[in-house]
Amino acid sequence: MKDWPLWEVFIRSSHGLAHKHVGSLRAADAEMAIGNARDVYTRRNEGVSIWVVRSADIAASSPGDKEPLFDPARSKVYRHPTFFQLIDGVKHM
């Protein structure tokens, strides 16, 4: 017998945040994957919306590319508000 495919499960909690990866599971088809995700990952009111994606369909960055992908962002300190020194007395900024 062939294994059922693996699915990655993403749940949006009631707090309105974006869907967040919560884990994976096996299911024969998408409908079953959503049902299983509901039963496995929302037993304690964890979510209001479920996405399932076949694990095989996810494209991921490779660890070897970590430096070219992520290091350049480190030098752009001016993107962060703490970079800017405010003069005394400025409020609501």
Binding site: D3, W4, V22, S24, A28, D29, R43
Partner: protein, 332 residues
């Protein structure tokens, strides 16, 4: 614990200085507290050990559903029935999270399950004891889940990302398990003479197996040093066992239940309890397959899997047909 005596395949622990290349870089990352992720390079022995440890842990959760599942239909009230059902269901979830974590290491769940069914993979010794009375359900929640929590909380910080994250989920859900068990014990211990007797009898039978769950004494734990260096074992067996004893004895005292150990004493100097000798022969016999319920548990798991084969096949066949339909736009 849920993973006992995990073989690392390593005879002698080498220091970081003795390692070179990838292996040295890997150990330095672990020493620096960096989490290892599935795509990262890792020594083969680390991968294999983790597969063994995580799958043993997963098998334990799944086999562990059986002794308690045995009492769902016979729980003494509807609320107890629902609570126990939810608890046993959670254990199934734990098994699932853990199989998924193991799968990130390049093995398939079906292969892991086959290894269990063929007797090649172990699961915790504790689940090879029978649940004879309702009080056993109390004792399991209180002692077995209690011991599991002690073991699992440190694992949330282990070096392998997916395992640590699975443990975080598990620990979050685990908190009610121990309490429901202690609650059952409390009601029985404060009940009629017959109920008290039942509670004491359960404690008598489950105490030593629970103490043994943490695995052999540190002096005999051959693989611990390597697992500790890899940060997939964060405390020694004896350390965790002591923590369990120190936490549990006062809880038994509160219920006026007696720990079945004549040598149990508070050691003022150590600020810990000393306990009597553990019967390691019993432990090794159970691990070997000669516990009271080893055969029954494996047979139940195999039976469920075999009887489910045509169902899994049918669902896969249906999925395949519908995928083809969607691709070709044809309907049957």
């Amino acid at each position: 614990m849920y993973a006992q005596m995990v073989d690392t395949g390593v005879q002698r622990l080498r220091s970081t200085e003795e390692l070179d290349g990838d292996e040295r870089h890997f150990q330095e990352r672990i020493d620096a507290g960096v989490r290892i992720e599935p795509e990262d390079w890792m020594p083969d022995s680390y991968r294999k050990t983790l597969v063994r440890q995580i799958s043993q842990h997963a098998h334990s959760e799944i086999v562990g559903m059986l002794p308690e599942g045995n009492w769902i239909t016979r729980a003494p009230s509807l609320l107890r029935k629902a609570t126990l059902l939810a608890k046993v269901q959670d254990e199934g979830g734990h098994g699932l999270y853990l199989y998924a974590a193991a799968e990130t290491l390049g093995v398939s769940r079906d292969d892991l399950i086959d290894a269990l069914h063929e007797g090649k993979a172990k699961y915790s010794s504790i689940f090879n004891y029978p649940t004879l009375t309702w009080a056993d359900i109390g004792a399991i929640g209180w002692l077995v889940d209690g011991a599991a929590i002690i073991n699992q909380i440190p694992l949330c910080r282990c070096s392998y990302g997916p395992y640590g994250r699975a443990m975080v989920r598990v620990c979050k859900e685990e908190s009610f398990h121990q309490r429901q068990g202690y609650d059952i014990m409390t009601v029985l211990a404060q009940g009629s003479a017959a109920q008290r007797r039942m509670a004491q009898d359960a404690l008598n039978r489950w105490w030593w197996p629970a103490v043994m769950m943490f695995g052999p004494p540190d002096t005999e734990s051959v693989h611990s040093a390597q697992s500790a260096a890899w940060r997939i074992k964060l405390h020694s067996n004896d350390e965790l066992r002591q923590r369990f004893i120190d936490q549990t004895v006062p809880q038994a005292d509160l219920l006026d239940l007696k720990i079945p150990d004549p040598d149990l004493r508070w050691n003022e100097a150590r600020q810990s309890y000393d306990i009597g000798a553990i019967d390691w022969n019993e432990f090794h016999a159970v691990v070997r397959g000669d516990g009271p319920c080893n055969k029954e548990r494996l047979a139940a798991r195999r039976d469920a899997w075999d009887r489910g084969a045509w169902v899994r096949d049918a669902a896969a066949a249906h999925a395949e047909k519908t995928t083809i339909e969607r691709k070709t736009g044809e309907t049957r």
